[in-house]
Symmetry: C2
Subunit: 281 residues, 2 copies
């Protein structure tokens, strides 16, 4: 396993592998890795010759009021995770090298980005699309794995690849959960003991929605209210959003007819957690 910090060196290396006919698999991350990332890496590993994982806490996807500075970082720990996952190259760009002061070109998704997380994080997906474009150009992957926990991000990246003709296959990685059901996230470590326990309300409310959906409930307002009520009953939790949206367009639906995404975001103090499930009629 090798760590590459220089952008130019990463790109040169990628082209060498391409010329040799190697399939490059890619897992972009913001570091502070957990079992969720590991499962994405394992998924990529099976499908590629050269596995690249990037670690970069991307400043352009954080709002000015968000947790860029406190976002957890631990490269030594991340390294051993990557070793376990049989990663070939950790791409760990120097913070300063990714954006110049006069950077002025942005990749913007304009249809799927407004709702859900985008409603409270206005420039978030512009930052995500831009950094993923840069990483794709630097790593030259044949396939890239993104986790389903970030449901909106996943669909926006799929749309970006389609609309801009990136020669990259996007592979969806399932949500990995703690034994008690909490979706894994680098931000979980900031929960207090009480918040950690109460954070189970995300998964519990989704389970309840799935249950009612299986019993035949197709009214999105009713299903949404299940989440609203359950989260309201949890002292340390504050609902950011709970939405039932079309799985393709991410537009709100009233009556569930096609596949829909039920997604929610909940704040515990300064920590914001997300979770989701797909409902297939």
């Amino acid at each position: 396993m090798e760590t590459i910090r220089s952008l130019k060196r990463m790109q040169k290396r990628a082209f060498r592998h391409k010329r040799e006919g190697s399939v490059i698999g890619f897992v972009p991350t913001m570091g502070f890795l957990h079992e969720g990332h590991l499962s994405l890496m394992k998924l990529a590993r099976k499908r590629c010759d050269v596995l690249v994982a990037s670690i970069f806490v991307n400043p352009t996807q954080f709002g000015s009021n968000e947790d860029l500075c406190t976002y957890p970082r631990d490269f030594t720990r991340d390294e051993s995770f990557c070793e376990k996952a049989n990663v070939d190259i950790i791409f760990y760009p120097e913070f300063e090298s990714m954006y110049t002061d006069d950077a002025s070109v942005w990749v913007n998704e304009e249809a799927l980005s407004g709702g859900l997380c985008g409603a409270s994080r206005p420039d978030h997906f512009r930052g995500v699309c831009t950094v993923v474009t840069k990483l794709f150009n630097l790593v030259q992957p044949d396939l890239a794995v993104f986790g389903e926990k970030d449901a909106q991000q996943l669909r926006i990246i799929e749309r970006m690849v389609r609309d801009l003709d990136f020669p990259v296959e996007i592979v969806r990685g399932s949500i990995v959960r703690e034994p008690d059901g909490l979706a894994m996230s680098s931000r979980n470590k900031y929960l207090s003991a009480t918040q950690r326990k109460e954070a189970l309300c995300l998964r519990r409310s989704l389970d309840k929605v799935v249950e009612q959906f299986k019993e035949g409930e197709r009214d999105a307002t009713v299903l949404r209210q299940v989440v609203v009520d359950l989260i309201a009953s949890v002292p340390s939790a504050e609902l950011d959003y709970a939405e039932v949206v079309d799985d393709g367009s991410l537009a709100e639906v009233e009556k569930i007819e096609g596949d829909v995404l039920m997604a929610l975001a909940v704040k515990f103090g300064a920590v914001r957690l997300i979770d989701n499930t797909i409902l297939y009629p």
Copy 2:
């Protein structure tokens, strides 16, 4: 020479050439080729193994009040031009295949795009950046040649390549002129005989600016006024803009100290022509 219309087939073909270690040179065009394009192709030809020229009248770079429908098209003529330039592949995508109805991802340059042509063509460079990103992803060029006549476009593409880390070298192709000095353009064919003659005012005003600059004039307002006065004296010409801008930031300058770009756009009825020169102190 081969013509490829399918996006997927172009991309597959490009990757085959990359695996074989071939250098791919690229000249993107909107067709209705002239000697200007030919010179870009010749420049690329010298530097590559496989020369791809694209012909696509990109709808997203035209405003709703602009000449998308009347933009000249003649594929048979273009084919013979490409043959002359020793092009290997004409990439001539089906009009409908480049953008879906729900396309929602755009590449936007936000610092260099507001002035000059961008002032009267608000979404023009967003369309240019987006289509060039798509073409780069489809053609996978090692180098791409853009003409200096479109000075602002050239600088925006260079910025895009820098900011998004495209693995493409941008090569600048000099302006090619008719024997009398008019910069070649597909739109020249729409000039009436009188307009065609009077269109020499673009080049003449630039010559006058260069002359005064060589004599020591460094006041941008004075040089700009030279153009304004000369264009005002031409009956069929209407000045769109004449600007003296920093060659890097494209910001207006008052006193000329570093390299500046003197650029102008002039309308002859519905036909809008551009020209420019760089002044090196």
